[in-house]
Amino acid sequence: MAVVLVDAGGTNIGSVRYALQRLGVDAALTSDAATIRAADKVILPGVGAAGPGMARLRELGLVELMRSLTQPVLGVCLGMQLLCAHSEEGDTECLGLIPATVRRFAEQPGLRVPHMGWNDLSARRQHPLLRDLAEGEQAYFVHSYAVPVNEWTLASANYGEPFSAVIARGNFHGMQFHPERSAAVGARLLKNFLAL
């Protein structure tokens, strides 16, 4: 199985690659359109801000390519947010594959932004991506922007209000947390993606 990591400059790309290696999958790091198109699975990692993330995809000429993919695609953290229509972060037009807007967490007393740490995942729909996920299992989040719960939300987490932790529309999937840094739970969810 050919798994590729789209090299859009995210700093977590090495960690995601190592996490896949721990699952026995050697993923190629690439920004080459033909290699991405030919892959069985495509992962878009990402850490950083939406504006530079989209700018990098545009620079690499990958925007239309990403939109045209038909194999399972997984966006991680910022990668998930880039799959959405629009982000409040820098008022950025994103890939538009999931019709949702990425919003900044509203600061409230006792609610620190960024949302950083382990939080509960709560399944809202049945989906092969969530296979063997038990209620109350936790994943590691680090982010200041989030996708509100919508009809594409597979699992939510709660921080002041519920937000999308796992999302899917057709072949496009997203995880707001870092599966590569979420211990056994994260490994299981990555494995589920590889099995799609």
């Binding site: 977590n12 790309i13 090495g14 960690s15 620190r112 740490g117 382990w118 680090v142 200041s144 870092h178």
Partner: protein
């Protein structure tokens, strides 16, 4: 609910994990990867690696071990020590670290915090603050604490520095209370509370853990997001699974292992 984090801190010197008392007289505790794996298995929520020799010697952190840790560890980890530029930070983040922590170099040149936040996002940028109460009752920051012969007391007030670091783009503050570090009498709740009031980003308590009650106090009384400790974990005086069960019973939200979940 977001869990409070338990964070073992591994002070690294010459490729070994060390721990001293009050930042002095460091003794070797073991290999980096071995200890990292042990803490992952025990349920640590995150790890911090401080290269305590890097900053005073004016060199950046040695990246070899960062990549080794990143390959085997599946929980987040932060690297600190001698990161003085965006390039230094990029090298460490690309080697697989999730966050970088800056301390002395940020005091030399506070714009470093803003540069790191612009390049990688605030979520990658931790500002470590070494703080000690002076004779006049004010908490002030210390610089180059990795080497007692080079440690400097600054005129900068701790509370001012925390406010400035946030304004510049710190995504998390680690407050090392040097007066309580290594003596195991509990975290400095007074100081943590004073910083908590003006800290809108996650705040991590550091320095003073000696008993499981100290962790509860830091979470329940100073509302910190995470508690960092070193020697009590390295020595085995406190085991993380038991600590987490205790905190859970005390009503502190923590991440439990599969066997402990209700």
């Amino acid at each position: 609910m977001l869990s409070r984090r338990i964070i073992p801190c591994l002070d690294v010197r010459d490729g070994q994990v060390v721990k001293g008392v009050r930042f002095r007289d460091h003794v070797a505790m073991g290999g980096i990867v071995d200890l990292a794996l042990r803490y992952r298995d025990e349920g640590a929520d995150e790890l911090v690696f401080y290269d305590i020799t890097a900053s005073p010697e004016g060199r950046s952190v040695d990246r070899g071990w960062v990549e080794k840790v990143a390959r085997v560890i599946d929980i987040p980890f932060c690297v600190a020590g001698g990161i003085r530029s965006v390039d230094d930070a990029r090298a460490v983040l690309h080697a697989g670290a999730d966050k970088v922590s800056v301390n002395s170099p940020a005091l030399e040149r506070p714009e470093l915090v803003a540069e790191l936040a612009a390049a990688f996002g605030v979520q990658c940028v931790v500002v470590g603050v070494d703080s000690l109460r002076d004779a006049d009752g004010e908490w002030r920051v210390r610089q180059y604490t990795g080497d007692p012969s080079k440690t400097r007391a600054l005129a900068r007030r701790t509370l001012d520095w925390v406010a400035e670091a946030q304004r510049l783009g710190a995504g998390e503050i680690v407050l090392n209370c040097m007066g309580s570090d290594g003596v195991r009498q509990g975290y400095d709740l007074e100081q943590l509370n004073a910083v908590r009031v003006l800290c809108r980003v996650p705040l991590i308590a550091s320095g003073g853990a000696g008993a499981i009650e100290h962790f509860r106090d830091a979470f329940a009384e100073a509302d910190v997001d995470g508690a960092l400790a070193a020697s009590v974990f390295h020595s085995g005086a406190i085991a993380i699974p038991g600590l987490k069960r205790y905190l859970h019973e005390q009503g502190v939200a923590v991440r439990l292992g599969p066997c402990d979940r209700p």
